[in-house]
Structures are given as structure tokens and as C-alpha cells.
Subunit: 174 residues, 2 copies
């Protein structure tokens, strides 16, 4: 079941049907959506260690948005960003409902993992479409960062599957 | 060339020659070494965005150390941790020298990337050696976390290769 925070998006293979300008708009939109999703998720999580990690993810997506806007401005100076209706992969939207226990959190994290994985593939596709080394480099940076998020979330998910162990392990001091 | 902060370690395939108790000791030693390496590296880096990321990595390794000590205590109650001489993968040691520009930083990050990759493989090997689901789960958690670090460092490395772009991009606001 697709939870209310999500909508199924465009498949990755459709990326080449869009001009680069719109793809960058999609990427910015996705980063904004991911940030808001993580911010709202963090508000609803009580376990401090997990909350901190989700807050950190929100901050990272905020930085990516800023990088993408800078790149857009350098490529299309003075032009307003175009945000296409389409979205690549599951579109993360703010979590407005109350979360009841581990199962709810697990489901949202599962979708976030999927979104991060698709985001990484999306940036790899854009890398092929941009023409200069510095833009390709930036796309690799963003793709690798999303892969980093993917594994961070996967790790948390793995431990969350054993709730008792998670709460026990996550209360250890530094 | 192997920089002074490093020593080449044991190959991964030797892991099975050691009892679990010593492998956990090696893992704890590696986490402590990685934390000290990142702390000392962060002190020597002037770019705030990169410094913050390295400080964050240091904190993560500190948490992993705590998790491993907790697991060790649960498996070998009251026993002091045995630290074998051997080290899996490149052993990261504190950076005591001054770093001169990007090249020095890049070299150390290259080794850290390698160490994170090997650490992930190391935990995957230990996963096969431990007997219960919760211990296997913890090893997957640690392995995925190190993969997360691997990609985070790879992303930074990618952008650092273009120093001008890095400094330009990393001064953007949130």
C-alpha cells in the first residue's frame, strides 16, 4: 500500500524525454519534498537517536537544493525555475498524521530508502545529459550523497526491525 | 605511497582465522582509530563544510564503538576486550602533520574511503560468524553505516577534485 505521504512517480527511463532545464526543476522539487518529508517525520519520532538522524537528512537535502539552484542559475541566468508536474520515483510529502508505533515509521522509512535509491539513479542519468566536467562532477556528488542516505536509512531500518534491540542499543552513551 | 597515518592491514580473507572475540576487539580498535583519525583530520581542515562532515563522521564512529562494546559485554560478560595486533584494511591513525592544500587532504580521504569500504566488508564477514539474529542485525547495521560513510566521502572527494568549484559551491547558504 502506498501511504498518503507518497505518490508513485515517473519511471527513470522517461528522464530523457525532458529537457535539462525541467530535469533540474524536478530535482529541486524532489529535494524540497524530501526535506519537508524528513522535517515532518522527525517531528513525529520520539526516539532521539533516530530523530537526530532524520533532522540531519533534512539538512542535507536543504544543502542539495541550494547547490542545484546555484547550478540552475549558472546555466539559465535570470530564469525562473520550471517545476514540471512529473516526479521521478516516489514523491515524498510531509507526514501530517500521527505515527502509531514502529510499523508506521518503518513503512515511511522503506519509501524514503526507495526514493533515495531512485534519486541516485536520477542524478546518474542527468550526469549523462550535462555537457561539462564540472556539471557532471556535481551530479556525481549529489548521486553519491543520496547513496550515502540510502545506506544510512537502510542501516536504521535494519535495526528498527528489532524494536527492543534498537531502543536498547540506541541508549548507549558516546 | 602510504601516508604516515596509515599502515596496510590484514586482507579480508584472513578474518576467519580469528575467534569472534578477537574480531570484535579488532572492530572496536578500528572504530577508535577511525574516530581519532577523523578528529585530527577535522582539526586540520579549514573549509567549514568539509570540517563539519568530518566531525560528524568522527561522532558516528564513536557511536559504533559504543555499540560494539555493548555487544562484546553481552557476549563475554565481565571480560576485558582483547585487541589483537592485526588490523583489517588500512589502519587510520591520527593526522599529526600539517596539511598543505588539496592534494594532502585528497590523499587522506582516498584512504578513508578505502578503510570504510573494507570495514563494511569486515562487518559482512562477522555477520556470517555470529550465531543469533540480533547480532547479525547489528553487523548489518554497522556495515550499512560504513557504506553510508563510504558514499559520503566519495561524494566529497569527487567535488574536492575541482577545488575552485568546491569552494564556490560550499559557500552557498541553506
Amino acid at each position: 500500500m502506498v501511504p498518503p505521504e507518497l505518490e508513485e512517480g515517473l519511471p527513470v527511463e522517461k528522464i530523457r524525454d525532458f529537457p535539462l532545464e525541467e530535469l533540474l526543476g524536478m530535482a529541486i522539487k524532489a529535494e524540497v519534498g524530501a526535506r519537508k518529508f524528513y522535517e515532518s517525520l522527525a517531528e513525529r519520532i520520539e526516539i532521539q537517536a533516530l530523530k537526530d538522524k532524520i533532522v540531519w537528512l533534512a539538512g542535507e537535502e536543504g544543502k542539495h537544493e541550494a547547490l542545484l539552484r546555484k547550478m540552475y542559475e549558472s546555466m539559465f541566468p535570470g530564469k525562473e525555475v520550471i517545476y514540471p508536474e512529473e516526479h521521478i520515483g516516489p514523491e515524498l510529502q510531509p507526514v501530517a498524521r500521527e505515527l502509531h508505533g514502529a510499523e508506521d515509521i518503518l513503512e515511511l522509512i522503506r519509501w524514503a530508502i526507495r526514493a533515495e535509491d531512485i534519486a541516485a539513479k536520477f542524478y546518474a542519468e542527468i550526469e549523462n545529459l550535462v555537457d561539462t566536467d564540472d556539471k557532471k562532477r556535481l551530479m556525481r556528488y549529489l548521486g553519491d550523497m543520496e547513496m550515502g542516505h540510502y545506506y544510512t536509512l537502510k542501516a536504521e531500518y535494519e535495526l528498527l526491525l528489532d524494536w527492543e534491540m534498537y531502543s536498547q542499543m540506541m541508549h548507549v552513551g558516546p
